[in-house]
């Protein structure tokens, strides 16, 4: 047996005996490395008689290729074995609790607001804002509340020193958004509002969304349609709406709307065609332009959606509650 054949046999056994990828790397270096056995044979060719140089060289190169292919085979066999070992041995009790990194949460009111904003921006409504301390004119007068009239009692008002009020609704944003500007308008105004009231279903500060649209032809029927679509976006595709006649100084006709909820009706908010006096107060000609507005409490909606029984708990900041909502 030639030296090369012997070398090749040794290599075959060594490759087969390599029990790990690391061992295999060592085996390969021993035979095929720069200082390995095959290289030694090739280096020694010069010392051979001329006639043997060719055959020995060729045999050594063949052996090199042969060993290389055994190494490759062995490498993939070892990797395969490693994978199947993992498949056999990695067995978890998957009922152990998951371990997520701590994550934050948006307040339920913020989440409901975002949902509302998403719906109305998809309908082409821009967002408007206004201050929370408002003038009496923007909060009442421009909205057609007569002075010294029982209509003002509907909304228990916080007055601040100096004659302004904490806005009792988001409707003053209508006045701000329309005054001095030319229709058409399509706006929503999410925001915080204040009423002098505190019990399980009333907090002195709460959140409202106001929506309004003014152009030359939008109708009460459109108002119904938009609110239907909105209700279904919020409460599910089967949701029904009911419109009851009502009175608000700033809309006429006015309605309160209820949505169907667990077999009954749940009060949702108010709406109506914007009163011509309001349009006039904003410098918009009511003979040419017409529109509608609606407003609803967001906190109550959050309460219904998240199954809360006490509105106040939304603003008490108990983390045990907020983390769960």
């Amino acid at each position: 047996m030639s030296q090369v054949d012997q070398l090749q046999d040794e290599a075959r056994e060594a490759v087969a005996a390599a029990g790990s990828l690391a061992e295999l790397v060592q085996v390969r270096a021993r035979f095929l490395g720069r200082k390995g056995s095959v290289a030694a044979v090739l280096r020694s060719i010069g010392e051979l008689p001329a006639a043997e140089r060719g055959p020995v060289g060729a045999a050594a190169n063949r052996a090199k290729q042969q060993i290389e292919s055994w190494v490759a085979e062995r490498r993939s066999a070892l990797k395969r074995a490693g994978r199947s070992k993992s498949l056999e041995q990695h067995r978890l009790d998957t009922s152990l609790p998951g371990a997520a990194p701590a994550s934050g949460r948006l307040h339920p009111v913020t989440r409901v607001f975002r949902d509302v904003v998403e719906f109305f921006t998809s309908m082409g409504f821009a967002i408007e804002e206004g201050p929370e301390v408002e003038t009496d004119w923007n909060n009442f007068g421009a909205l057609n509340f007569p002075d010294d009239h029982p209509a003002r009692d509907i909304q228990d008002t916080f007055f601040v020193e100096g004659g302004h009020v904490l806005r009792t609704h988001t409707s003053p944003v209508q006045i701000r958004a329309m005054t001095g500007l030319a229709p058409p308008f399509r706006f929503i105004a999410p925001g915080r509002v204040y009423r002098h009231d505190s019990d399980a279903t009333h907090t002195p500060m709460f959140h409202q969304i106001e929506g309004f649209m003014v152009d030359e032809r939008t109708t009460f029927a459109d108002l119904k349609g938009v609110l239907h679509a909105f209700a279904r976006h919020m409460f599910g595709p089967e949701t029904e709406l009911r419109f009851r006649a009502h009175y608000f100084p700033f809309t006429e006709p006015s309605a309160e709307m209820d949505f169907s909820w667990r077999g009954g009706w749940m009060e949702w908010g108010g709406c109506g065609m914007i009163h011509p006096n309001v349009l006039t107060n904003c410098g918009v000609d009511p003979q040419r332009w017409q529109g509608w507005a609606f407003g609803m409490g967001i906190d109550r909606t959050a309460m219904d959606l998240y199954g809360l029984s006490d509105l106040r708990s939304l603003f008490e900041g108990d983390v045990r509650l907020l983390e769960r909502l």
Binding site: S103, T110, E129, V160, T219, A221, D222, P276
Partner: protein, 813 residues
């Protein structure tokens, strides 16, 4: 307003179904707040159907009946009544029922037959003494339904909310009109004309209206010789069902008429009236009046007063006075029916806190054409019920009439244009007619005559509403708007606020919303200096008792209260934030003093650390300050700002907040502008808010961020060349600022340095006293080729020399 349906049915035919009635009233704008039933409690008693009736096998006078109660399985009952018969509908009480007399029914055995319940007689139902036989119900009564609904006993009382524009609804007459608008039928109001006798009323009294603007109309009626005593049962029941206490015949009659016609009345004891005069005037300076509740009221010059020749005797429309009160000794009474100006009544009632059924109706406006009718009706009832003699004639006076719009024009096309309906002109006219608004055609337009009781109808929109209301909102189509599409805008502040929320939530913080009220002592609790702008708070004129009386000027106090609240409930680690406005009072005088307060939006965060490290904390806990700093810096980075963070106590820019620990606080800024702060809570502040664990707070001025430029988009492509890392551990004086050292390294290391990071800070064994070991990792990389060893060596050498020269730093091994 409480409305007994049995009473209403005397005025107008009601639909058979109470549900249909309630549905229509509700949709028409009368919100039903509660439904009550008067009369004996008949809970559990249902309509039964006698499907079989045979003689009891062992008793001639007893029957054994099979009664169907609606579930299809007849119940066997023994009955002793002679009139029971197959096919009857009867009132059935199952075992367990408590009868009106308090007896609880049990299953019994009567002469060997088990009786599972009882067929009731009228007396057993508490409906009188009839005990000879069972009560037979209407054959149409639905089996299984509550028996009370099929008995003409008791009454259903609806409590309805009346909107402020519809004062005319606040009476049986108004309700009957509303029912008629929905269901039709003929209105049958009670007779009002009294039988008159004796000398004319005008002989006893004259009426003078001096405050003409406060009293458009005043009608007096005189009834002589009344017997003041308890009212008959039916009258007392009606008042009680309406929520009014029965007092005596005279007072009860005035209240009954008010409920009938919506016109509040007052009765004076004519014998106590001085000088035979009734004057309607304003209060005189210093005038006092003792009202019926016994209180001496100090009047103001704007109060409208009813007076006799010598003194005030009533607050117009609000409350009568004691001196002319009707008593058991009263014989002759003067009935006052008037229209007072709504604003006058409202002002006085509000100031004195005297809200009554009377002031409620005057504030909403009474029907001027109904004033005399109500006076007549009261006189008639006093004749009928109190044995009085109505003096012939009314004594009347008139002041300035309130404005009333008699006719309003309506373009029927406009109705459709506003509502999206397709109603003809005739349809519109017919709908208005149902609401008592008669119309005449004038070309294409309708001209509606407004009845005297509809003070809310004054312009076209009011008619459109009536059309929609009577037509039914449910019949108006449901469509979606059409129109040009325009891009949707959102205020920059609102958008930025949402991004701040997202950035904080992504870092594990929980959003809270608190009520933005503050206590006057909050600035002291925070330790704010005297000239701090946050001491200029907006004060509430009418805070809720027990709540705070100002609007917040800082988000910190409520956040600290939240932390306290949660820590007291064993919350472990807190990571909270709130974003929202604070309110800074406008203290300007002269021009601009009416300007609204500033409402800058800010965000504040709070982090405390629990017992166990959280996943995002390293095992060796770094000071809490750095958590707050890191979170705030990350927010600023995510929002696209190149922000600095510095502590330079004493300097204007670096000074920390008084509620921060002076050794662990810093400010954030962008360019020249301070934009926020971070600091561990000052131990004194923590004690004041009852916080016993370490706590870091940070604040960012969200409104301010809108006014500073974001950082340039200096994006550099990530290099594909290999990066070379070099770690340097340097011994430095303990008080060397790591941030400064790091910045200096960055400056000294040349352009190929892509990052320098502090990865270890160590004091202790092996580090001399007063020294600290800071270890920095420097990363070198080029985009065009690999960085050469020699280049790196040269740059590191420069850094080492700089550290030695500038900071006295010494390389460690």
């Amino acid at each position: 307003m409480r409305v007994a349906l049995g009473w209403l049915a005397e005025w107008i035919p009601l639909p058979d179904s109470t549900d249909a009635l309630m549905e229509r009233l509700t949709l028409g704008g009368l919100e039903i707040e509660s439904i009550e039933r008067t009369g004996p409690p008949l809970d559990g008693i249902v309509v039964g159907h006698v499907v079989a009736c045979e003689r009891h096998p062992d008793a001639d006078r007893l029957s054994v009946c099979q009664v169907d109660t609606g579930d299809g399985k007849p119940v066997e009952v023994v009955c002793g009544a002679p009139n029971v018969a197959e096919g009857q509908k009867i009132a059935f009480a199952p075992p367990g029922t408590v009868l009106p007399d308090g007896t609880k029914l049990k299953k019994t055995k009567i002469r060997g037959v088990v009786s599972r319940g009882m067929i009731c007689s009228a007396r057993e139902l508490g409906l009188g003494d009839e005990h000879d036989g069972i009560l037979v119900l209407d054959p149409a009564a639905p089996v299984g339904a509550p028996a009370a609904e099929s008995l003409s006993i008791g009454d259903v009382v609806l409590e309805m909310e009346i909107t402020p524009n519809r004062g005319d609804w606040a009476s049986m007459l108004g309700m009957a009109r509303e029912v008629r608008s929905h269901f039709g039928g003929e209105l049958t109001p009670p007779d009002t004309q009294p039988a008159e006798e004796g000398t004319p009323a005008a002989d006893d009294v004259v009426v003078e209206i001096e405050a003409s603007d406060g009293c458009p109309r005043y009608v007096a009626r005189v009834v002589r010789g009344v017997q003041v005593g308890p009212s008959p049962e039916w009258l007392r029941e009606r008042l009680e069902a309406a929520g009014i206490r029965a007092i005596n015949t005279v007072v009860d009659v005035t209240n009954l008429v008010m409920l009938e016609f919506g016109q509040p009345l007052h009765a004076f004891d004519l014998g106590t009236l001085r000088g035979g005069r009734v004057r309607v005037r304003r209060a005189t300076p210093g005038e006092k009046l003792v009202t019926l509740d016994g209180q001496a009221r100090a009047l103001e010059a704007t109060d409208l007063v009813i007076a006799d020749a010598e003194r005030g005797i009533a607050l117009a429309g609000v409350m009568g006075g004691t001196e002319t009160e009707v008593s058991p000794a009263t014989s002759d009474v003067l009935i006052e029916a008037a229209q007072f100006h709504p604003t006058d009544v409202r002002r006085t009632a509000r100031r004195l806190g005297l809200h009554s059924e009377s002031s409620y109706r005057f504030e909403r406006g009474v029907d001027p054409e109904g004033v005399a009718r109500a006076a007549d009706r009261a006189a008639r009832l006093l004749v009928e019920l109190a044995g009085g003699r109505a003096a012939p004639g009314r004594v009347e006076a008139r002041g300035t009439a309130l404005p009333h719009t008699d006719t309003v024009r309506l373009d029927p096309a406009r109705v459709n244009r506003l509502l999206g309906t397709d109603l003809s002109s005739d349809d519109v006219a017919a709908l208005l007619r149902r609401a008592d608004l008669d119309t005449a055609q004038d070309g294409a337009q309708l001209v509606a005559s407004v009845p005297s009781w509809r003070q809310d109808v004054a312009q076209e929109a009011d008619l459109v509403e009536e059309v929609a209301r009577v037509y039914g909102y449910d019949r108006i189509p449901t469509t979606l708007p059409v129109g040009p599409v325009a891009p949707v805008s959102r205020p920059a502040g609102s958008r930025l606020g949402e991004r701040v929320r997202d950035a904080l939530v992504a870092q594990g913080l929980l959003e809270c919303i608190t009520l933005p009220f503050a206590a006057p002592e909050d600035p002291d609790l925070l330790g704010l200096v005297a000239d701090d702008p946050r001491r200029h708070s907006v004060r509430l004129r009418n805070p809720i008792i027990g709540e705070h009386s100002e609007l917040r000027t800082s988000l910190i106090p409520s956040l600290l209260r939240l932390a306290h609240h949660n820590l007291a409930r064993q919350a472990d680690a807190l990571q909270l934030f709130e974003i929202g406005p604070c309110f800074l009072a406008n203290d300007r005088e002269g021009p601009g003093q009416d300007a609204l307060p500033a409402e800058p939006v800010g965000v504040a965060g709070l982090i405390t650390r629990g017992e166990r490290p959280r996943l995002w904390e390293s095992r060796e806990r770094i000071p809490l300050f750095f958590l707050g700093k890191g979170v705030a810096e990350r927010v600023l980075f995510d929002l696209g700002y190149a922000a600095w963070c510095r502590s330079e106590p004493g300097s204007q820019r670096g000074g920390t907040e008084p509620y921060h620990h002076p050794g662990a606080a810093a400010r954030f800024g962008v360019g020249e502008r301070v934009i926020g702060s971070v600091g561990e809570l000052h131990p004194e502040t923590a004690a004041r808010f009852g916080i016993e664990v370490p706590c870091v707070v940070f604040e960012l001025d969200v409104s301010g961020l809108l006014e500073v430029p974001p950082r340039d988009a200096d994006f550099q492509e990530v290099s594909r060349q290999p990066a070379a890392r070099r770690d340097l551990a340097v011994l430095l004086d303990r008080d060397a600022a790591a941030g400064e050292v790091q910045e200096a390294i960055g400056a000294a290391a040349g352009p190929d340095l892509v990052s320098v990071e502090l990865f270890d800070r160590y004091e202790g064994r092996g580090v001399p006293e007063g020294k600290v070991s800071l270890a920095f990792r420097l990363v070198f990389q080029r985009t065009d080729r690999a960085v050469r060893e020699a280049e790196i060596a040269k740059r590191v050498d420069r850094v080492v020399k700089m550290l030695a020269h500038r900071f006295g730093g010494q390389l460690r091994d």
